[in-house]
Point group: C2
Chain length 348, copies 2
């Protein structure tokens, strides 16, 4: 039943492919940032996960209340370049968001997923455990609905209100004020708000099961740059504390926390580390203590013989960065700076 | 700060791209189903969605309970071929699943998303409203947790138990029995179970907000084949009832329902329609009445002057199909058959 091409058709097809190759300049090379894109391979899979039994999977007659489901698996989507220039980059989104963070920006420009790929990096985009395409467990909700447990046992799931998120994402000091020189494409704000999803993070143990799943992925890839953001900012460090194997570098973008300078720093001496910040951090009471914490951590790592950097973008000439640097108007410029940092610090 | 290539570098780069094109045979042509893949463009965006105010977004001190969130938007990921051969295909997953349905199969083979793309079709993969990367609303849960509303107002969210899902997906008559000749890759079952997510479908109005979002997408694309599965099987018909514009064809795979033969059939006379079934349907009490309903619908559409087909795969020589035909071992053969049906019925 499968479509079979005759030898002649195959020959014609390969000639056509050759000619199209000429026309489209299709083969991906680092530096070819527009037009058709050639990828060696793409796909998706899950890492981690475990089976749990539940008596509260459903309150609907059509679906059984009792049985087994898989939870704590992490969805991973990947694309690989034809000519890789070094370790792949694993992109780990932050609070209330999914892997969509790294795809097409709200104003319709190329996301870092494709940008890094076109620069010769394999790219792995994950959805954190219990978020997006990684399953959450409804049992605690249905158990209350069934009258088996009390309302206060309901999981503390939440969505970030846009008005409050405004200051957290540092679009301005408070909703709807805007910091002067803001790089975030504010005209595309409705598209950004649509990226936000219900967040189960507060129902998870510490470290979040995303952390061992990331470790499993890093080991499987035998080398990857863990690039985290915001709420997941601490994850690559927690992965390193579990197992440093497979971590080529840590790039933590606007982390919610860095490890304490006083803790065991040994795991963090084994790979280059970058902590990167946008603009206006000192104007944000939520963020300035975090920057301070990360500065202390980076200093302690370097004192102990490690290679860590804490970079605040306006201090190196890139102004106006929001918390969502990967979606700011200058996101490709930031991406190029990051790739140059990676080139300087991670052996190809 | 952006990496700038000199003219000489650009020239060298384009020569290299040319040579790589030769080496990789990279330009995508329908029929080139292995090796590097060249795409014209890819990305993601949302369709639909509305703003809602809530006083119950969060019970956590770090996130405000009150404010605005976006709900009912539909996540769409797309990839476009360099040489399209006809209208794009929009892939609409079923119950308890996400767009992952159409990606890499549980046993690691190419999903229909890439398979159709390599055959020259643009592919749009959606996550249904309130599923996967399309946000759900936590307000009804938090309202109960806050003591404002009663436990019986909790949303009827559910996850499908693996034991019960076994028969629904027709892997066998009951868990863990297997139908003889089963095409589903049972050895990869754990990976399949990880695809299943918490489902908010029962909290949604009829038609599901995914339906107007699909209509908006179809109009935007100015022609697409709506390919649905299982719980979403009815959606393309509901889209047609809203507005037939932009619907090049309907392919409903193992639908949970077809429109009743007695309803106004006019919208369904305007496009070719295929309803496709796997094997063992008559052995499944959940599915045999649905097949009967769809047969009656197809017959009524044809009597009224439409072009509809109801195809049961074993009757045309493809045996052993489960409910997840896009993941069965013969999924590429099924895809080729589908593309041939599309070629016969949809003008290029």
């Amino acid at each position: 039943m499968a479509v079979q091409l005759s030898k002649k058709e195959k020959y014609k097809s390969s000639i056509l492919a050759f000619l199209l190759g000429l026309l489209a300049g299709c083969a991906h090379q680092p530096g070819v940032m527009e037009g058709p894109l050639t990828i060696a391979k793409q796909g998706s899979f899950f890492v981690g996960g475990r089976s749990v039994q539940s008596e509260a999977l459903s309150t609907l007659p059509a679906y059984a209340p009792s049985g087994t489901i898989a939870v704590e698996q992490m969805y991973v989507h990947y694309q690989l370049p034809v000519v890789p220039v070094g370790p792949a980059i694993t992109l780990i989104h932050g609070c209330c968001l999914t892997g969509k963070t790294w795809e097409t920006t709200p104003d319709g420009r190329m996301g870092w997923d494709e940008y890094f790929l076109r620069r010769g990096r394999g790219v792995y985009v994950i959805d954190q455990v219990a978020r997006g395409r990684s399953a959450a467990n409804p049992s605690a909700i249905n158990s209350v609905k069934m009258g088996k447990t009390a309302a206060d046992t309901l999981p503390p799931v939440f969505s970030a209100a846009q008005e409050a998120a405004w200051a957290i994402f540092r679009f301005g000091p408070e909703y709807p004020k805007v910091f002067p020189g803001m790089q975030f494409p504010l005209e595309a704000m409705p598209e950004f708000w649509k990226q936000m999803v219900l967040d189960w993070n507060a129902t998870m143990p510490t470290p979040n099961p995303t952390v061992p799943a990331l470790s499993e992925l890093a080991v499987k890839l035998d080398g990857t740059i863990l690039m985290s953001h915001s709420q997941s900012g601490i994850y690559p460090f927690q992965v390193a504390a579990l197992n440093t194997r497979g971590i080529s570098a840590i790039v933590s973008i606007e982390p919610g926390a860095c490890p304490a300078a006083t803790e065991d720093l040994k795991p963090y001496l084994k790979m280059p580390i970058l902590v990167l910040w946008g603009d206006y951090v000192d104007l944000a009471p939520r963020w300035s203590p975090r920057l301070k914490m990360c500065r202390a951590f980076v200093e302690a790592v370097n004192k102990a013989g490690g290679r860590a950097e804490n970079v605040v973008m306006p201090e190196i000439g890139m102004k106006g960065g929001s918390h969502m640097l990967m979606q700011d108007r200058n996101s490709h410029e930031v991406a190029d700076w990051l790739l140059a940092w990676i080139d300087r610090n991670v052996p190809r």
